[in-house]
């Protein structure tokens, strides 16, 4: 049965998925800005800037929505997370601030090379650090190492997140975001008819895809010790299996399509892959929001707040999604969500 707390949990997860896909791709863009190389170095950076420019602020708000849903609907869980993960959360926020501001400052500062490079370096370093920290936060929440007794956090402020599992999840997030971005950028370059630039990003995407696969295997292996709840969910729950199959199918589609230079399909595949991965995490962790103390049910706000939040979210979405569609339609081509047509 769909309870209000489950619906709110789903909304939060939905916002996180969209943040991973859109905000993640922006972070990934920063990664490729850092690793821009070869004869078309400048063109690569230009494409990244053009792709991110109009949409990064909107992409970035998914994070705010996820956080607001978390603290409004599950306040005690948020409180415990904020106490236990004070250090990595602070670092992540600093990364987010530098990423956004350095990107904008670069766009509006003069085209003097030195200055552009300095902003660019700050932008891309923050783009590398933030996904790692975001992944570490998720990994720690799943690991069960944060302990809370009678609303008091009893674990310390460092050991829970400075563990192999969260660190590998952080690297996984970085690789995934870089993969997303490379595929998106290849698709954009291809749509613009820039053949060589497309090949640059195709190669980067193929490389990132392989890294994603490798890190995924390491993450899964480490989860048995590092996050037993997750590994149990992933392996023992029958209803997570369709999600695994979905992930596998999407990942294969993305990679093969990329290989065959069918970029729109590759883009669809990599988006689906990302969403399946996040859903797989959520479902294997269910009903826990913060393992092992807070479940969706135990951390939920009072029923009236929950209902009103859902109403506000529904009303807000009616406004939000059409405007988002217009934004993407203007800047991401005539039919932004076309996916199956041949290039």
């Amino acid at each position: 049965m769909l309870t209000t707390e489950l619906a709110l949990g789903a909304v939060m997860m939905g916002a996180l998925c969209l943040y991973a896909v859109f905000g993640g791709a922006d972070f990934g863009g920063g990664v490729w800005d850092l690793f821009a190389s070869g004869p078309r170095k400048a063109e690569q950076r230009k494409l990244i800037e053009k792709a991110i420019g109009p949409i990064w602020e909107a992409n970035h708000v998914w994070l705010i929505l996820a956080v607001v849903a978390l603290f409004a609907a599950f306040p005690t869980a948020w409180s415990a997370i904020c106490i236990a993960l004070h250090i990595p959360l602070t670092l992540f926020v600093v990364g987010v601030v530098f990423r956004g501001s350095a990107f904008t400052f670069r766009a509006y500062d003069d085209r003097n090379d030195k200055r552009q490079q300095r902003w660019g370096l700050l932008f891309s370093l923050a783009s590398v650090a933030s996904p790692i920290l975001l992944g570490m936060l998720a990994g720690t929440v799943a690991s069960g190492r944060i302990t809370v007794v009678d609303d008091v956090v009893t674990s310390d402020y460092v050991t829970p997140w400075l563990q192999p599992f969260p660190i590998v999840v952080g690297l996984f997030a970085l690789a995934l975001f870089a993969y997303l971005a490379a595929v998106f950028l290849a698709a954009e370059a291809s749509a613009a008819g820039a053949v060589e630039l497309t090949e640059d990003f195709r190669k980067r995407a193929l490389l990132a895809g392989v890294v994603v696969g490798a890190v995924a295997i390491v993450t899964f292996a480490l989860s048995f010790r590092g996050a037993p709840r997750i590994s149990a969910g992933l392996t023992e729950r029958l209803w997570t299996w369709p999600l695994h199959l979905g992930t596998a199918a999407a990942a294969t589609t993305a990679f093969v399509a990329l290989w065959k230079r069918r970029y729109a399909l590759a883009r669809l595949g990599v988006v689906a892959q990302t969403i399946f991965i996040l859903l797989g995490w959520a479902v294997s962790q269910y009903p826990y929001l913060l393992v092992p103390t807070h479940t969706l049910q135990s951390a939920a706000a009072n029923p009236r707040t929950q209902v009103l939040l859902l109403v506000a979210i529904a009303a807000g979405s009616v406004l939000l999604f059409p405007s988002l569609y217009v934004l993407y339609r203007i800047f991401k081509g005539e039919k932004p969500f076309r996916v199956l047509d041949r290039e």
């Binding site: 603290f71 609907a73 948020w78 987010v96 956004g100 009236r304």
Partner: protein
């Protein structure tokens, strides 16, 4: 500094910083849209150029507002986890709505900034209006949270947890009307004064520039109108506070003894031990008149409240004096501008007047920050008035010194960078005709 002071300093510094950019993000799009409308009506390219300049400013400042606002949504939890854990379900609703409004603003801003010349001009204008409206709406919702903290309503407390929660009653707690009105007006007023000041300064150097004369005229008009409306809104606030937050009013006025015909004190140094205010100017019955519109009315003094519930009286009082002082000066300038404009039947650009506008450029933001200090300091020592003390809300995280310096350094860096960039924008752009812009979104097409 002790643990609590570090937390309050970090929160205060972050909010004070964010507020500048948030206010500009609310108000600058209004100027952008006004300029667009005038361009459509007159076809005068100066308006187009003015709009483009406002848009560039909005882009830079909005980005900083967006990232510092994101940081704040985390800092609330990082610094005050017990407050968020206990009352998240009460203040979460307006925050969620603010989130959506902000989201819409970001989307429309993307369309507006990067769509100029690419999309039909009607859609472009609509996007600009969308930015201006959703900015105002998001400021409205976030101010509601402050109203709830100042006068918590819509729930009861049992063993430190809220019960019988009515989120809508909590969201629209008594101060909501005067706080949202006062805060929104302040955003437009502060931005308009800063713009008028900047353009007055440019006019002093380039007195013949048609573009800057127009920009100055619009800024001065909005500045004068808001400066004259704000005292009316302030009077409304004073009334409401006198009725629903008497302790805050007493602290604001450094009013110790409950009395009828209470005097209004201007300036002065409050002495908590003796309950006297030294060196202040007293207007007999002024406070009674201000608070209730009746010179004989009784106004409750600080002495009627337990000492441990008192806000920091001197600081609250000084902040209020600064706000009212700046507000009065701005209202005076508004009257002067109206008078000069009426006599000359034109926008006043006498050099002495331009200097006066330059000098009052920062007043709006000074008043905005001071007014925020009044409402925040006046609520202390509570984070949720009467329900949770600030010291009980603070994080148990043992060492708040590093995060304090991290955020302080971060915001100083952002502040310096932004000032530098805006200054450059103003300097490098040619004085005549629309420039083929270097950098920025317009450069791409």
């Amino acid at each position: 500094m002790d643990h609590l002071t570090y937390a309050r300093a970090q929160m205060g510094f972050s909010l004070a910083f964010h507020m500048l950019f948030a206010a500009v993000g609310v108000a600058l799009p209004l100027f952008m849209v006004i300029a667009d409308l005038l361009y459509r009506r007159t076809g005068d390219r100066d308006w187009l150029e003015f709009s483009k300049r406002m848009a560039k400013g909005t882009a830079i400042l909005f980005a900083v507002g967006a990232v510092s606002g994101t940081a704040l949504s985390f800092e609330l939890g990082l610094l005050w986890p017990r407050f968020m854990g206990t009352f998240g379900e009460i203040i979460g609703l307006p925050f969620a709505m603010e989130g959506f409004a902000f989201f819409t603003e970001a989307i429309f801003l993307g369309i507006y900034l990067y769509g100029r010349g690419k999309i039909p001009s009607g859609l472009h204008l609509a996007a600009g209006i969308g930015v201006a409206l959703s900015g105002a709406i998001s400021a409205f919702f976030v101010t509601l949270v402050n109203a709830t903290m100042n006068l918590p309503r819509g729930f009861e407390m049992l063993d430190g947890h809220p019960i019988n929660i009515d989120p809508l009653a909590a969201m629209f707690s008594v101060p909501w009307k005067h706080e949202t009105l006062h805060a929104l007006l302040a955003c437009y007023q502060a931005t308009a004064f800063a713009l008028a000041g900047i353009h007055a300064a440019v006019l002093l150097r380039h007195p013949t520039s048609a573009l800057f004369r127009k920009a100055f005229a619009v800024s001065l008009l909005v500045a004068s109108v808001t400066a004259l409306l704000q005292p009316i809104s302030g009077d409304h606030s004073a009334h409401s506070i006198a009725e629903s937050e008497p302790l805050k009013l007493a602290a604001i006025e450094a009013h110790f003894k409950t009395q009828t015909h209470a005097p209004l004190r201007i300036g002065g140094i409050p002495d908590l031990e003796t309950g006297e205010v030294r060196y202040g100017l007293e207007i007999p019955s002024g406070l009674s008149l201000l608070a209730t519109h009746d010179p004989a009315a009784e106004v409750k003094g600080l002495n009627d409240f337990p000492r441990e519930d008192w806000p920091p009286v001197a600081k609250t009082h000084y902040a209020f004096e600064v706000m009212v002082g700046a507000g009065s000066a701005m209202a005076g300038l508004g009257v002067l501008a109206a008078f000069l404009a009426w006599r000359k039947k034109a926008v006043p650009t006498q050099r002495w007047f331009l200097w006066a506008v330059v000098a009052s450029g920062p007043l709006g933001f000074i008043a905005l920050e001071a007014g925020w200090l009044v409402t925040e300091l006046g609520r202390q020592p509570w984070i949720m008035h009467g329900v949770m003390r600030t010291r009980d809300a603070v994080t148990p995280f043992p060492n708040l010194l590093p995060p304090f310096w991290t955020f302080t350094g971060l915001y100083l860096f952002l502040g310096v960078s932004v000032v530098y960039l805006l200054f450059r924008q103003l300097r490098t752009a040619p004085m005549e005709a629309a420039p083929p812009s270097v950098g920025g979104p317009d450069a791409h097409h």
